[in-house]
């Protein structure tokens, strides 16, 4: 059998094989079309999202960078001799707080003047001796409250426990204790 004859036989055999057809598809065509439509819709939605998201991100990043740059450039100028936070606190203080601060400063100034005018007050030991002498009987210095040490009679009242002593009162009491006879009446803060 020649080569060409063999090739012809093979071609005829191939043609007979090719005449066979694949059997009917078991694919559910409608279902495939439906699922494909869903896939296309998902793709379109994802495409729309990405269309919006990427330009937004692209636009936002330079804006953020520009804002940071402006902040960096402006910050040294706004500092100056007065820190920003301190000046902001002063600006934010209410009138009542400002009055209270002024009164406190005035009281401190009065105390300082009184101490300076009184001159030397003696040794610290004598002050301590005075405090110890005022201790209630049977009590040590460590077991009493500061108010019991300063004024045991006043501390014995229930008023101490109920109402805390004000800042001005504390200063006045200390002044009276440390500088007896020199306790000129303190100027009360104006309300």
């Amino acid at each position: 059998m020649g080569k060409s004859e063999r090739e012809n036989e093979l071609a005829a055999f191939e043609a007979r094989l090719g005449a066979f057809r694949p059997g009917a598809s078991r694919l559910d065509r409608d279902r495939v079309m439906y699922l494909a439509g869903q896939a296309v819709a998902r793709r379109e939605r994802a495409g729309a999202r990405s269309l919006w998201a990427w330009p937004s991100a692209f636009a936002a990043m330079p804006a953020v960078a520009a804002a940071l740059l402006v902040a960096i450039v402006i910050e040294p100028d706004s500092g100056g001799p007065v820190p920003l936070a301190q000046s902001g606190q002063e600006d934010a203080a209410s009138p009542a707080e400002q009055d209270s601060q002024a009164a406190r400063m005035a009281t401190d100034h009065d105390i300082l003047n009184a101490v300076v005018s009184a001159g030397p007050t003696g040794s610290e030991d004598s002050d301590l001796d005075t405090l110890l002498a005022r201790l209630p009987a049977g009590r040590s210095l460590s077991s009493v409250t500061p108010w019991e040490a300063v004024d045991p009679d006043w501390a014995a009242t229930s008023l101490v426990a109920v109402a805390p002593v004000s800042y001005v009162k504390q200063q006045q009491m200390l002044l009276e204790e440390l500088m007896p006879g020199e306790n000129a009446p303190l100027r009360q803060p104006q309300s």
Binding site: E9, F13, P22, R26
Partner: protein, 176 residues
Amino acid sequence: MNDNEHNTTGPEEAQRLGRLIDSHAAALELYAGLWCVSPEDVVQEALIELASQRQWPTNPVAWLYRAVRHRALNASRARRRRQRHEEQAGLLRSAVLKPPPGESLDAEELAAALRSLPDDQREVIVTRLWGALSFREIGEITGTSESTAHRRYQEALLRLKEKVSPSWANPNEKTN
């Protein structure tokens, strides 16, 4: 319009997909049946994957064969791990080939002859004879050259001819 055109959307895309199903689904199932027992599922997944492509491939038919091959091989590997004999029983059932009117050889004998071929030869026979792909396309799908695909095809034809009954393999005897 032929199936090789691309970059369409909407109803036109749906029409193209419908035509692909009508003309290629059966051959694709036959092809997927070389490896797995539920080829229709594999073909369905491949068709849906094609539909979800933003831009259709230049040659959607070849793309489908490649996608089906990939999915069928994956399904085959997964199933083979579970039960090997079921896998073999499901390959190339006779029902997937339909003889032409007046053909003396039944599809069962042809399917048996096909099953006896090596995997690469069986694949090239199915894609060439019933998928109507070119040897270049077959080479791209199987990862070989065009000439290798052609050589395998020739070898597979000769083997098949030897496997089937002599009266069927020789057309002259049939006509006589």
